[in-house]
């Protein structure tokens, strides 16, 4: 090997290692639709928009964090609330992108819709550099969601039975007001107190607002919180029934609510209460 060759090899090697050093997320990209996110660009955006709450280390301990409830997400744990994937698995890049775009209602996380899709993809790539899990694990396989079943009073009534049987009321309360017997004791995985969702407060959930979102939330669970996954214990048709019933708990005029009100007015004596007095336990 000539001296020249040695020098070239050395220079190339140095160049590569510099490239890697300057871009800690070099190996990590995100793929959202047709876009490829770059962690290096994402870092710049993160330091401008996200660092105040999520912190320089991505551990949710930014300087605003002490005043925020619920606390900003800790990206070093790679535990995410809103996933299309089974509980305990990593979310897809799309899941993270949706979360950034949508924001989280009833929290301090705003919607980042004003950012461009490319910027959000870059941010997703950077967020994934905070936990080593992204290097050793693949995201879970999104759960299968079959087409929605028709909204009928039978579906609503069966969903109501499931709300009782699956003991949703123990946290969410008999009327879905978030005031069940276990509600006051709930803490998230970092021991911070957390409230169960109050269905009467609006139409939006932390992980979306459509019926499909609602289905996905209780089937995959909200990781890092007391809300478990029901994917192994509720069949798809039953899950749609539960979705239809949950819509009657909202303070909106939904088709489900209309059907339920009509039924309740016509059959007042056949409606069993929900909660500890319902019996059959």
């Amino acid at each position: 090997m000539t001296l020249k060759k040695v020098l070239v090899t050395f220079a190339l090697g140095l160049g590569f290692s510099l490239l890697i050093d300057l871009h800690p997320g070099f190996a990590q990209e995100s793929h959202v639709g047709n876009l490829t996110g770059n962690a290096g660009s994402g870092k710049q955006l993160y330091r401008r928009y996200c660092i105040g709450c999520h912190g320089p280390q991505g551990d949710g301990n930014g300087e605003n964090a002490p005043w925020i409830d619920p606390k900003p997400r800790d990206f070093t744990a790679a535990t995410f609330k809103c996933r299309s994937t089974p509980t305990g698995t990593l979310p897809t890049d799309e899941d993270l992108d949706h979360a950034v775009q949508r924001g989280f209602v009833t929290t301090n996380m705003p919607s980042w819709n004003p950012l461009t899709p490319q910027q959000r993809a870059d941010l997703v790539a950077y967020i994934k550099t905070f936990s080593p899990r992204w290097k050793t694990e693949k995201p879970g396989t999104p759960i299968n969601i079959p087409p929605e079943t028709p909204v009928t009073i039978e579906s609503v009534l069966h969903g109501r039975e499931l709300f009782q049987k699956m003991e949703c009321w123990k946290c969410h309360g008999p009327a879905g007001h978030g005031d069940g017997p276990s509600a006051a004791t709930l803490t998230d995985s970092k021991d911070n107190p957390i409230r169960p969702y109050n269905f009467s407060t609006g139409s939006r959930f932390k992980c979306g607002e459509t019926n499909t979102d609602l289905y996905r939330i209780f089937m995959t669970g909200v990781d890092g919180t007391p809300m478990p996954s029901f994917a192994d214990v509720i069949q798809p048709n039953d899950a749609w029934d539960l979705v239809h019933f949950l819509r009657t708990l909202q303070s909106l005029h939904t088709p489900e609510e209309g059907l339920w009100k009509k039924y309740a007015a016509e059959h007042p004596s056949s409606i069993k209460p929900i909660g500890p007095d319902a019996g059959g336990q």
Binding site: E137, M166, C171, S182, G221, P226, D232
Partner: protein, 239 residues
């Protein structure tokens, strides 16, 4: 020589047959470590648990169930301490047999379940109520699953060593631990505080004792052909 080999083989099969140790066949070796875990000082008083919010569980207990974070026995014995080989071990693959964890009477049985990394873990709900099983793993993935009455067991496993607190958010008094270890040589102390690690080839080992409230202690031990006695003492605080 041949006779000696046969003896080891017999001793080995006896261990498997009687289910001693971790359930995996211990590697050839006649050494063992045993002893007792005790406390000094005043441990906190365990409190009776009020299960009246869950009548189907409350009626299963004639005397109140007590909290178990510092469980003690006679003569200052400390219960539910995981004693295991933390260094020097030559452990084989995880045993084929599953580690079984039960939710019964709104309690976790056993309170501390040891298992090896990669070993199958089966979680049963024996109650007439829903539980959500929520192991708060930090090193391993954290998941949270609902398990209504009559559901089939949850079959899972953990790949990395970790002491994982387990809770049920619906019944906040339920607390337990998964002790996921990279060794097959472990023991959880009983009410008398005793432990025993069998089937150890002669050599140098580090033994760790872990208690959920008081953390870990280690001792270096040289094991010969017979039983080597060591004891652990934890300083108990009344709160």
């Amino acid at each position: 020589m041949k006779q000696k080999k046969l003896l080891w083989f017999l001793a080995g099969s006896l261990c498997i047959g009687s289910g001693i140790g971790a359930g995996s066949p211990p590697p050839a070796g006649g050494g063992s470590i045993s002893g007792k875990v005790t406390y000094t000082g005043t441990p906190p008083k365990m409190k009776p648990i009020d299960m009246s919010k869950e009548p189907s569980c409350a009626k299963q207990h004639t005397t109140p169930v007590m909290t178990e974070n510092v469980a003690t026995g006679p003569e200052s014995a400390l219960q539910y301490v995981v004693v295991y080989i933390s260094a020097g071990d030559t452990t084989g693959a995880a045993p084929g047999e599953a580690a079984r964890y039960d939710q019964k009477g709104c309690q976790y049985l056993p309170h501390v379940l040891p298992m090896q990394t990669g070993q199958s873990l089966q979680i049963y709900n024996d109650d007439q109520t829903s539980h959500n099983i929520h192991p708060l793993a930090k090193v391993n993935p954290e998941w949270n699953k609902s398990q209504p009455a009559g559901s089939p067991p949850i079959d899972t496993k953990y790949e990395k060593p970790e002491f994982i607190p387990v809770k049920c958010n619906i019944h906040p008094w339920m607390h337990g631990y998964f002790a996921v270890l990279s060794t097959s040589h472990y023991s959880v102390t009983g009410e008398d505080g005793s432990f025993s690690l069998k089937g150890l080839p002669a050599g140098k080992y580090t033994v760790t004792a872990w208690q959920e409230q008081y953390g870990s202690q280690t001792q270096d031990v040289t094991v010969g052909a017979g039983d080597t006695k060591i004891n652990f003492t934890f300083k108990a605080l009344p709160y």
